[in-house]
Symmetry: C2
Subunit: 248 residues, 2 copies
DNA sequence: CGAGGGTTTGAAGTGCATCAAATAGTGTGG
DNA sequence: CCACACTATTTGATGCACTTCAAACCCTCG
C-alpha cells in the first residue's frame, strides 16, 4: 500500500486524478489534503473480496482500473448483483449513513487498482466542508437516477432488450458507422448484472443478433446498425436514446 | 392554498410536523423559517395530477395524508410505477439536482393533502445550511438502500413473496398477535408497484393465503401468524426481517 | 495433452402474461 | 332504495419467456 501524500512530492498525478472526480471538485484545500493524507493505493486480484456485507465500513474506494462487482447474498445462497463498476467510480461511500456497516459485498472481478479513503474522513469532510456535502449529493442523485432506470428496465424490458441497453451504454458517444465493443467482463457476470441466467443470456444474445443487426465473435460485439439496435432496445423505455451512463 | 407562516401565529402544529420529518431536523431557525414562509398546503383530489414528467420542477411536496403514485410512461404508453407514497413522505425533492425538471409524474391516488415548498428554497438551504445538506444526504441514502432492496426483490422473489414483503413493510413494528392491515390503495396499483399484472396479483395473493396463514376481506388483510409470513417471504432475502420501511 | 471454467445447446418445467369472460363493487340518477 | 352502468377483481384457458437440469463444446492454461 502506498500513501498518496508521500508520492505527491514527486508526483502530482494522483491529486489531479482526484480533482477530476466530481466528488472531489472544488473542495477546500485542507479538505482535499485530509483525503490525500489518509489515502492508500490498493490492489485487489481477480476474485478477491474488497469487503463483505455487514462488515464494519471503515473505508470507501475510488476505482482507478479494473472491475468491481457489488452484490448481496440471500439466506438461501443465491446472489443478486447490484452493480458492476469500473474506473472513476466510487463504492462503499454510502456507509457514512448506514450505521457504518457495508450494505453489500464487493469483489474484484478483474484485477482492481483502487484508492481507499477512511469513511471517517468523508464523514468529517461532509460535516465541515459544505462543498463536499454538495458533491456527495449530486453523486448520489446521479446514481439514484441510474438505479431508477435499472428498476424500470427489469420490469419493462425483456432479456434481449436489456442486453441491448447494456451494449448501448458501452458505445462511444461519437457513433461511427461500424461499432466494435469488447465485453468488459464474463458473460455470466453480465447476465446476473442484468438479472438473468447465463443460459438465458446466451440465447437472448442470439435473439438480439437476429433482430438488431449485430454480430458476435466471442467477447467482441459488432453493431452494424446503431439505429436498428436503438429501435429494438429502447421502445419500451420512458427515456429516449442518448441515456448516457449516470453511475459514479 | 393556505400559507403556513400565516397560520403559525395561532397554530404551531405544522411547524412541529415539519421538524418531525428527518429532512427538517435540527435546521437553523432561519432556514426553517424560509421554508415555512414559502410553503402552502395544497389538496389534490383522487386522480388529480400533482406534476408531470419533464415539467419544470418548481415545487416539491411533503404528504400529510392520502396516497401519491410516482410513475413514468414508456414510449409505448405503458406506465411503470416507481413508488407509492403516503404520510410524511417527500416527493419531487430530487429535482434540485436534475436540471430542474421532474423525472417522473406524480398523481394523487387517494385524495392528498400535501405541503408544497419551492425547490429554489431547498436549493438555497442546501447550499447555505450544512445541516440541510446532511439531512438531504441521509434521506437519499435511505432511499438508495430501499432501491437496492427493490432490485434484489425483483430478481430473487416470486410474486407472492413480493406481496408478503410489501405487507410486512406495512406492519406496525410492535407486533401484536393478530395484525390487521388496511391496503392503502387499490390493488391494481399495488400490483404495478410490485411489477406484476392485476391478475397475477390476485392469484399470488391467494397463494400467499394458502402458504402463510393470512386472510383477506376486501381491502383489509389479517396476518394470523407473523412468523409464518416472515418465513415464507424473507427466506430469499439477503436481509433478515425487521427490514423496516426506509423510503422518505 | 488433459483439466477445468466459461459458454452454448437441448429438452422439459414453471411462472407470469395475455386474452376472455364471469363476478363483485361502486357510484349514479331515477 | 333500487336499477343501471361502469369499474375493479376474480377465474379460466392458453401461450410465451425465462429457468432448470443435463450434456456438449470450447478455450485457456498448467
Amino acid at each position: 500500500m502506498l500513501n498518496l501524500a508521500s508520492q505527491l512530492s514527486d508526483d502530482q498525478r494522483i491529486a489531479d486524478q482526484l480533482s477530476s472526480i466530481p466528488l472531489f471538485h472544488d473542495l477546500e484545500d485542507k479538505t482535499l489534503e485530509q483525503f490525500l493524507n489518509q489515502s492508500f493505493v490498493r490492489v485487489f486480484k481477480k476474485g478477491e473480496m474488497v469487503f463483505l456485507q455487514d462488515d464494519p465500513a471503515d473505508y470507501f474506494y475510488l476505482i482507478r482500473s479494473g472491475w468491481v462487482k457489488l452484490f448481496r447474498e440471500t439466506l438461501e445462497g443465491t446472489e443478486a448483483v447490484i452493480d458492476v463498476l469500473t474506473q472513476n467510480h466510487l463504492f462503499g461511500e454510502t456507509a457514512v449513513f448506514e450505521d457504518r456497516l457495508y450494505t453489500c459485498s464487493a469483489q474484484a472481478v478483474e484485477t482492481v487498482q483502487a484508492v481507499s479513503f477512511p469513511v471517517a474522513v468523508l464523514k468529517a469532510a461532509i460535516e465541515q466542508d459544505n462543498r463536499m456535502a454538495l458533491n456527495m449529493l449530486s453523486s448520489m442523485s446521479r446514481y439514484r437516477r441510474q438505479q431508477n432506470r435499472d428498476i424500470e428496465g427489469l420490469s419493462v424490458k425483456n432479456a434481449p432488450q436489456r442486453i441491448g441497453c447494456f451494449l448501448l451504454r458501452l458505445c462511444p458517444t461519437s457513433a461511427s458507422e461500424r461499432i466494435r465493443i469488447h465485453l468488459p467482463y464474463d458473460k455470466t457476470l453480465i447476465a446476473s448484472r442484468l438479472g438473468m441466467k447465463p443460459e438465458t443470456f446466451s440465447r437472448a444474445l442470439q435473439r438480439l443478433k437476429d433482430n438488431a443487426h449485430i454480430s458476435i465473435d466471442g467477447p467482441t460485439v459488432q453493431i452494424h446498425d446503431l439505429d436498428a439496435l436503438i429501435d429494438y432496445t429502447c421502445n419500451t423505455c420512458s427515456e429516449s436514446f442518448p441515456c448516457k451512463d449516470l453511475s459514479s
